[in-house]
Amino acid sequence: MDMQNLFATVIAAMTLASALMVVLSRNAIYAAFFLLLTLLGVAVEYAILNAHFLAVIQILVYAGAVVVLIVFVLMMMGFGRGGFQGFLPAGRQIALSVGLLVLLLGAGGLGGLLGEPLRPAPMASPSNTPIGQPSPKALRPALQWAKSPVPPPFLASAEIRTQPTAQENFGSVRTVGAYFITHNALIFELISVLLLMAILGVMVLLRGQQAAPNTSTTVVGSSHGASSHSA
């Protein structure tokens, strides 16, 4: 077992242990911090798999946004005090058996792979496959504007300037971004619409509600609603 595999195994064991602690810990704050540890472990595994951009995005979005949001709400609303709101009554066996059944089914499906280990393929050289020019079949008819004979200037200048190796090319910001914009531009735009709808949805959900006397009123969006009501 070489060094990289040993490192990946140690990180995987740590990640699984902290994931178990997320589910089993009684205090919600502890669960949130073990969730943070799990997500950081997954980010390290992304980096081992040469997905550098995804590792950065994982830390930015999860550790920077999702866990902070959960911890903020926990401390503001005081859900962590009672914390342990009980397991599913008399259904613990059902939950455990369903989860272990999925684990066994997946392990059985993986057993076919484990007979012959899944190997990482050698990375393709970027000269064989220019990134900025997708195959014409992959382009949707509505996005014909993206298909131009000349690659966009930022791609061309980057290719002239650096000519990265295949190792740097796989999973880099430039490669993933260029593939995303050229092949999946519609999904890219739909994500921005989804984020806008999420912002508006959160503000509408928490707008202008009277907070309970024992809870703080500084909720995202509630101050906006209160001011608009008073105005």
Binding site: N5, A12, T15, L16, A19, L20, V22, V23, A28, L35, L39, V42, E45, N50, A51, L54, I57, V61, Y62, A65, V66, L69, I70, V73, M77, F79, Q85, F87, L88, I94, L96, V98, G99, V102, L103, G106, L110, L114, P117, L118, R119, P120, A121, P122, A124, T129, I131, F170, T175, V176, Y179, F180, I187, L194, A198, G201, V202, L206, Q209, G221
Partner: protein, 106 residues
């Protein structure tokens, strides 16, 4: 040259632990965290297979793009879910046990 099986096993383990958490816990915030665990397990398997097919270079990035989409949708889900929990706890005096919250306007 190393094997990728450990990543597949980790993804499977994360998904199963998240599923057990969703079925086991009754606190709505724990449910959200367990769902995040399940999404991360699926993401890890997508990245692993993208690495296993790294020789077909531009097409292998489709796995990374799928993971990006899932991460952004998971962030949206967490934001809206937490907003729902906060709105729910205001109307139900801090009770966010999903078993006892069976009524609309509850």
């Amino acid at each position: 040259m190393y094997s990728l099986d450990i990543f597949l096993l980790l993804g499977l383990g994360l998904f199963s632990i998240g599923l057990i958490g969703v079925l086991l816990r009754r606190n709505a915030l724990f449910l959200l965290m367990a769902v995040e665990l399940m999404l991360n397990g699926a993401n890890l398997i997508l990245v692993t297979f993208a690495r296993a097919h790294a020789d077909s270079m531009p097409a292998a990035m489709a796995g990374h793009v799928a993971v990006l989409v899932i991460i952004s949708v998971a962030a949206v889900e967490a934001a809206v879910g937490i907003a729902l929990i906060v709105a729910l706890s205001r109307t139900s005096q801090g009770n966010i046990n999903v078993d006892t919250l069976g009524e609309l306007q509850g």
